[in-house]
Amino acid sequence: MTEELFVELFTGLLREMIRIRRFEETCAELYSATRIRGFLHLCIGEEAVAVGVVGALSDVDAVVSTYREHGHALARGVPMEAVMAEMFGRSTGCSGGRGGSMHLFDATRRFYGGNAIVAGGLPVAVGLALADHLTSDPAVTVCLFGDGAFAEGEFHESANLAALWHLPVLFCCENNRYAMGTALAREHAATDLATRAAGYGMVAWAVDGMDVLAVREATERALAYVRDSGQPCFLELRTYRFRAHSMYDPDRYRSKDEINRWKELDPIPALAARLVDQELMPAHDVEQWMAGVEGEVDAEIAAAVAAADAAPLEPVEHLTRFVTTEPGDARPGVRAS
């Protein structure tokens, strides 16, 4: 790769991580101001996973995500305006306002949620991949889930089924070391999740989830493997969330020291430092460039908030719409095989 391409790759990843970080920080402020309600789970600290994994996908691939999915949705290209409007419960939201923070959907971008039952999206991901297999579609279905989901039966059933049927699923375990407030070693008898996943006959390995370049590279390798072999693959992305589990969480179960140690691995300054260390950009230019990006991102966020604020609410008369298909309903999510 030429130096220009490295700079383009690095700055592209850095820009998207900054964009997600600032979006999440804004969501926290809007939550405190009671503009966003319900549960709100932020991915601050885990941006390298969202950007490194989801950014590596092609348009034909599918994404099945969790309730900590703002970053995944933004990295997938779901417009920020539509995501913010969804948080505000507006009819212009990416789920028509019916889902909220935990249920972001975008059928046209093959973003299948936004699943708030831990591991509940995994069987669906296997089914999407099964349909691709049956229709000889070269797409890969990527499902993101946490270390908590790895303890659920649905993970183990899904991993076995995908491996048994040779389905193109990329399992991405976003291991942030806590299932809500329960530490990894208190939820798993064996904490090396990649090794356990390999027990299903899948290629599986662990990746430094704080290093976006490592995540990107691993995802590209994994995608190529799944596409070439038609077999599932498993990545354990070792990461950490800097904020509490949700806005309700008093964060009593881990020490400030621990959080601060992980903050030293913050993926954003880490990548900025690499631009300098690898002599791709002088330090001063990096600082200036980042300030510029922050300004642009803040403007995008402000526009999204303003648009969400001005957007209409769904009329109450529409309460029971979309429970079942009504005559004349469009069915954009279904593609004829």
Binding site: G93, C94, S95, G96, G97, R98, G99, H103, F105, D106, A107, Y112, G113, G114, N115, I117, G120, L122, P123, V124, A125, V126, G127, L128, A129, L130, A131, D132, L134, T135, T141, G153, E154, E157, S158, N160, L161, L164, W165, R321, F322, V323, T324, T325, D329, A330, R331, P332, G333, V334, R335, A336, S337
Partner: protein
């Protein structure tokens, strides 16, 4: 309104003798032949031939890709059906019994029934899930329960209960044509039900209840395994000069209020037969609707004949005692008629 009107065209060929099981199998064969998007998956649907032999021979005819044996992973293979349906295929998921479906309840309730609404109408889940329900075969408490009423309480899914050969043969096609999830309950005591069907399948709707016997004095409302008992009870009542109308609910969700209300408005008395536990049962829902919609038509309290509130026991005599029997339906009808003003 019926989306799939009943065809009444005259048939010229002689009817064929068949069973409920064979009628279901023929319905699957038709679906697999006519639509390449249709495939069947579930435990032992392939090499074993189906745990109730519904899919016997289909693997040989359609191959392993379309008749897929699954591991004992109810949640994963039901969810896989949901995912494939999201992608535009038409999966049929067979779950061995309703008791085992509890292991897939997350997928059915939180995903299949919910995704369309939660995504603001972006997603459709055109999925059919079939499972056995009901008692009567001495299979004890983990293979005998009737939990279809639970499913009938869930918005976002359609729930069917074929109780006749015609419905066993005819309900699958409109269920597959439905853009939303459909759950079909096959009562375990019905697989060997035999009779005749026209050579060409008769189209049936999946939105209305059916009056299986007309009468004037009392309405017996039943479904699935209860229908035969209600019809037998009506025969017995006829010998006493009591004319019972028998309604087969067929569609447990959404309930066909119009057919029920119209019948009760004629007979002014109703008995609801439901093999499930009385508390919070589908029978309770039917009674509530009668009371809401036809209260002033009633000449007597509505009667319920339900399963005893006990895990279904193994010994024959106790199982019989736990389930609604013909004699119980007759007794309930007597009470209803006897209470006539």
């Amino acid at each position: 309104m019926s989306r799939h009107p009943v065809t009444t065209a005259a048939r010229t060929e002689a009817p064929v003798t068949t069973t409920y099981r064979e009628a279901l199998r023929e319905a699957h064969r038709d679906a697999l032949r006519s639509d390449p998007r249709v495939f069947l998956l579930g435990e032992d649907v392939g090499r074993y031939g189906g745990s109730f032999a519904v899919s016997l021979g289909l693997l040989e005819e359609f191959g392993e890709e379309r008749v897929r044996d699954t591991p004992l992973s109810e949640s994963a293979f039901t969810g896989a059906g949901i995912g494939a349906a999201l992608r535009g295929l038409r999966p049929i998921v067979e779950i061995m019994t309703v008791n085992f479906s509890l292991l897939a309840l997350d997928q059915i309730v939180n995903n299949a029934a919910t995704l369309r609404h939660m995504s603001g109408g972006q997603l459709s889940v055109p999925l059919v899930i079939r499972m056995t329900t009901g008692a009567g075969r001495q299979l004890a408490a983990q293979h005998s329960h009737s939990l279809e009423g639970w499913y009938a309480s869930i918005p976002g899914i359609r729930v069917l209960a074929p109780a006749t050969l015609e419905d066993a043969r005819g309900m699958l096609a409109p269920a597959l044509a439905d853009p939303d999830p459909v759950v079909i309950f096959e009562h375990g005591s019905l697989y060997n039900l035999s009779g005749t069907l026209p050579v060409d399948p008769v189209a049936v709707d999946i939105s209305t209840a059916a009056v299986r016997r007309s009468g004037t004095d009392v309405t017996l409302i039943a479904y699935a395994g209860g229908l035969g008992k209600a019809l037998e009870a009506a025969d017995a009542l006829a010998t006493e000069g009591i004319s019972a109308e028998v309604i087969d609910l067929r569609v447990l969700r959404p309930l066909d209020d119009a057919t029920i209300t119209a019948s009760v408005s004629r007979t002014h008395r109703a008995v609801v037969v439901d093999e499930a536990w009385r508390t919070g049962s589908l029978a309770a829902e039917v009674v509530a609707r009668i009371v809401e919609q036809a209260f002033y038509e009633l000449d007597a309290p509505v009667e319920r004949v339900c399963g005893a509130e006990v895990p279904v026991p193994y010994p024959h005599h106790l199982e019989e005692a736990a389930l609604p029997q013909v004699v119980d339906v007759v007794a309930a009808a007597h009470r209803a008629v006897g209470a006539r003003a």
